[in-house]
Symmetry: D2
Subunit: 135 residues, 4 copies
Amino acid sequence: MFESTTQIRVRYAETDQMSVVYYGNYAQYFEVGRVESIRQLGLSYKQIEEFGVIMPVVEMNIKFLRSAEYDDLLTVKTSVKELPTNHKIEFHQEVYNEANKLLTVGRIVLYFIDAATKAKTNMPALLKEKLEKFF
Amino acid sequence: MFESTTQIRVRYAETDQMSVVYYGNYAQYFEVGRVESIRQLGLSYKQIEEFGVIMPVVEMNIKFLRSAEYDDLLTVKTSVKELPTNHKIEFHQEVYNEANKLLTVGRIVLYFIDAATKAKTNMPALLKEKLEKFF
Amino acid sequence: MFESTTQIRVRYAETDQMSVVYYGNYAQYFEVGRVESIRQLGLSYKQIEEFGVIMPVVEMNIKFLRSAEYDDLLTVKTSVKELPTNHKIEFHQEVYNEANKLLTVGRIVLYFIDAATKAKTNMPALLKEKLEKFF
Amino acid sequence: MFESTTQIRVRYAETDQMSVVYYGNYAQYFEVGRVESIRQLGLSYKQIEEFGVIMPVVEMNIKFLRSAEYDDLLTVKTSVKELPTNHKIEFHQEVYNEANKLLTVGRIVLYFIDAATKAKTNMPALLKEKLEKFF
């Protein structure tokens, strides 16, 4: 299993008039979590796109347990529990607040897509090489 | 079953560098779909908050089948398949493009929460009255 | 002078914990105002990009006079006061609420840029033809 | 003069189909810059709101010189050039990319507003005490 964490400070823009983070903004927090997890592997999502592979999200399931508030320093925990063997990669993600309370749980599935042909493809070799050390 | 539709024009701001709508923005489209479905019942979500009830999202499941593009005039179909009997309401939502292709499917669960006490509560009487005609 | 109006319903996502529209979101409202003004001329900003011209914003000045609130049906008034003669176009934009109170005033300058070469260019002929009737 | 810097990593969500940061998102970057500058003074904007003072933006002027791209690590430089003597505070803000190129320049004016009465008020004493050391 590969696991990483990153921190995000809640912006004023991300709150709504319930005085909590708008539910739709967790998709951005999860995106940041995934991007930083790839950076912690020693490459970047930007490089993956430069290799000609894009990774659109095809499924997102989120449970909202507690609210995040303005200026909270959130911790996003991102894990990959199974090494991808085809065009699919699944991330499990959790958001915690400073009191270490679990706020949100997400399961996000992305495809590896060839940017030129738009066809499904496999995980880029360099990402695979970095990731398989954890399995 | 209660069903309604509304239309949304994709904004430039909502695209990303894949030249499609960023996946996180569908939460906003679904919010607009729910809000307009309540308006079509003859009241407004704003009024519900004025009654002292807020409706936070507790669960969101989205499948992304096809991409929406800049300037697409999307149709959001919003339905409630079961009349709520407790603090929970479930919406089924679909996004279609102008070619009537199904782009995105969502299932969103919200709670009825008393804004003052933050306790779970039942559907406001006025909303129930409007909605139960469809069941 | 060319003038057009369009309407925008404030989304929950666009509010912040001051219970008003977050100041940064007016840039999106202004974008929608400009895009709809071009549509009212009988073409679309999407087509302009398909002609190979992009229109990045190079300057934005906004005065915030009064707040917009959740679910307000705003009117965005967009005007071009001078026919562009070079690579520059200037829009004057105003946002009004349902009580016809002026909320926000903006002056936004965009360039016409050749998408391929990234060089400054002139207004596309088709847009010029549509626009010059108003001057 | 009080000056501070903070860094922001560009999110995928913040790009648009021109493959650069959407112009409207700089308002968020500037907000983060101001919030972090207050934190570097030894208090927080959150505390200021807890003292009963809110700081709405009343004017924003931005010049866009160069584009920011996905995954850029931006530096936001935030300065206050004059100690506020009434209900007004003015921030000068600049965004630089990793090559130290100046991308965006902003001048943002905010008011100190009493959250309860909505009347203009003066800078909270604690903020004044921290800030006046720099003048």
